[in-house]
Symmetry: C2
């Protein structure tokens, strides 16, 4: 990654908090040639981040930008200290809920120099050893503003997001919280509610589970304490969407088996919703065809299959490996453009694979 004129960021940058997000941002900035200093009250985290080349632990005199990457409960206090200690510095944080932060920071002296950030990136691991300069690549990075926000600081944080590989999206803090309630927090809760019903079911019932159930419930396995915090911080926005869910749920409960038209309207509304989700490269979703291939479950078989896909000249749009029940074989689902499906099936069949679309 080279520093282009458009994305050059004035340094030095101070990162406070050497967890996953802070250390990842520091690694990406250092790699881009920005001078980065690090702080963490947990000296072990600080040492690890320094040892990974994320930056220097030397005291900093006058940072141009401070990234506050501390736990949510410590953000306001830390931002307050930073605004007062460095009167010329721009400040951002990385907490995942923003409106309340903007209100509380809005009453502080120097608040115009604060802009919120929410990089939509993470990992099931945490801490500086899990950090990566690549963590933000291609991920949305919300940049949130309040009524007093200095436009110069917004531009600086947009450049930060771009420099670490993210896709900056500037929005009002209220709009951000409403958006994440809709696209992240409520989907999480509905995934949890789906999975929660499985407790107590006989094993032979669960044996009928297919890939659909695994898709819907995947995110329900996430860290509980983290989600307690996130949902608690965005309670008002989440509750508003959940009440709309409840109305739709009641409509399904009443109409199922009694009013197929009304049930059909809810199903249609869901199908319409899926078509609004941005697809690959931020485009609208395009319809893809799926080619199914049976693959022996042993090292080297998937690479061998991929080599044959490569020989066919067909581009893979998406791919999944389906877990199978009771047999040592995997089914690979390769999503391709519809015009290419037959070509791929023929190419794979000719090379000895069991494939169909």
């Amino acid at each position: 990654m080279t520093v282009s004129a458009e994305t050059a960021l004035p340094g030095p940058v101070l990162v406070i908090g050497c967890g996953l997000i802070g250390t990842s941002a520091a690694l990406a900035l250092t790699e881009s040639g920005v001078v980065v200093h690090l702080e963490d009250i947990r000296s072990a985290n600080l040492e690890l981040a320094v040892s990974r080349g994320a930056g220097s632990s030397d005291p900093i005199e006058s940072p141009a930008l401070v990234i506050v990457a501390v736990p949510p409960a410590e953000v306001v206090e830390t931002v307050q200290r930073v605004l007062s200690e460095w009167p010329a510095a721009a400040v951002t944080d990385v907490a995942s809920v923003k409106a309340d932060l903007h209100v509380r920071i809005g009453s502080l002296s120097g608040n115009a120099r604060y802009v919120g950030s929410h990089p939509m990136a993470g990992s099931e691991r945490s801490g500086p050893m899990a950090a990566s300069a690549r963590l933000f690549e291609g991920r949305p990075w919300a940049v949130t503003t309040g009524p007093d926000t200095d436009q110069h600081v917004v531009e600086l944080v947009v450049r930060l997001a771009e420099l670490v590989g993210g896709v900056p999206l500037v929005m009002d803090a209220e709009a951000h919280d409403q958006a994440v309630a809709l696209v992240s927090h409520v989907p999480h809760i509905l995934s949890v509610l789906t999975a929660a019903q499985l407790n107590g079911a006989p094993g032979e019932h669960l044996a009928l589970a297919g890939p659909g159930l695994r898709d819907v419930t995947r995110i329900a396995g996430s860290d509980i304490a983290l989600w307690q915090d996130i949902l608690g911080a965005n309670a008002e926005q989440v509750r508003a969407v959940l009440q709309a869910v409840r109305e739709d749920l009641d409509r399904v409960i009443v109409s199922i088996g009694a009013d197929a038209d009304s049930l059909g309207e809810v199903l249609q509304s869901g199908q319409d919703g899926t078509r609004l989700i941005p697809g690959k490269h931020g485009d609208r979703v395009v319809d893809l065809s799926t080619v199914f291939v049976s693959v022996p479950d042993q090292p080297g078989e998937i690479p061998r299959l991929m080599a044959h896909v490569g020989e066919s000249g067909v581009n893979i749009e998406d791919m999944r490996i389906d877990h199978e029940l009771g047999r040592p074989v995997g089914q690979v689902e390769i999503a391709v453009l519809p015009v290419a499906a037959d070509t791929l099936v023929e190419a794979l069949t000719a090379r000895g694979w069991s494939a169909y679309s």
Copy 2:
């Protein structure tokens, strides 16, 4: 696929209905050396199935087994005709809801020769041209029984399921319907309810969508008429689970922002539920580590990556290609056993890939 002594099926077999499921079963049976005859009141479907080598359209004298693969509304009438026309034949159907069918068929003469089937396989396409002898490979195939069912017929249908590559699971028809409400029908509805909330949201809100939302809402894009039928036929069982969902939803609405412990209990219950879903090869889910790799979005890059994964000697447990926003690069997520994650990251980094775990 060769016919082993355990899975040999007496023929000839008659398949009534040359849609996706009927034609796929016919193709798989023909490939195994079983003599298959075909019937379909839609002559175009019959001709297509015959032209694909699924079987013969000649009249059959005395089938050992009849597979009724007609639309749900025509199943009972067709089974009745078959039971009376061939007094020695075993009969099964492939509809996805079973208890009501067993009740209605239970009053027919010859009902002991009927066993229900529900192969848990499908495709976004339909009709004989979408059929494949591989459709059932590794998929659960529910075999449902009623109080009068002849054990010999159950064994015959179990052999059918095995012969076409499925994993037979014999269960009571009521238990089947309860199971699919839990693992398929209710997850479908919650996916729909999640997606339905997206209608009317501003585009900048949807731009924050990540892979979690896409996972939860994927199945909500399915065929609406099909799901109206399925849900209507299993209304009672589905409603019972939805009422439990509603209780949990109300608990979340009340506790969010007010009672973190109660919210945490619901989240815990969801996480527990995810761990009950059978994983690869029917085992319980094992925790896997994810290795993230950035891949240019052009033909040949994923095969090249897979070749390098193959050289590392690490087995791929699962894999996904994440759609990215606003940039021509894909992120591939490779799930591997935790002990192998560092090995894979090192091997890929050494070969020039941008990878982390």
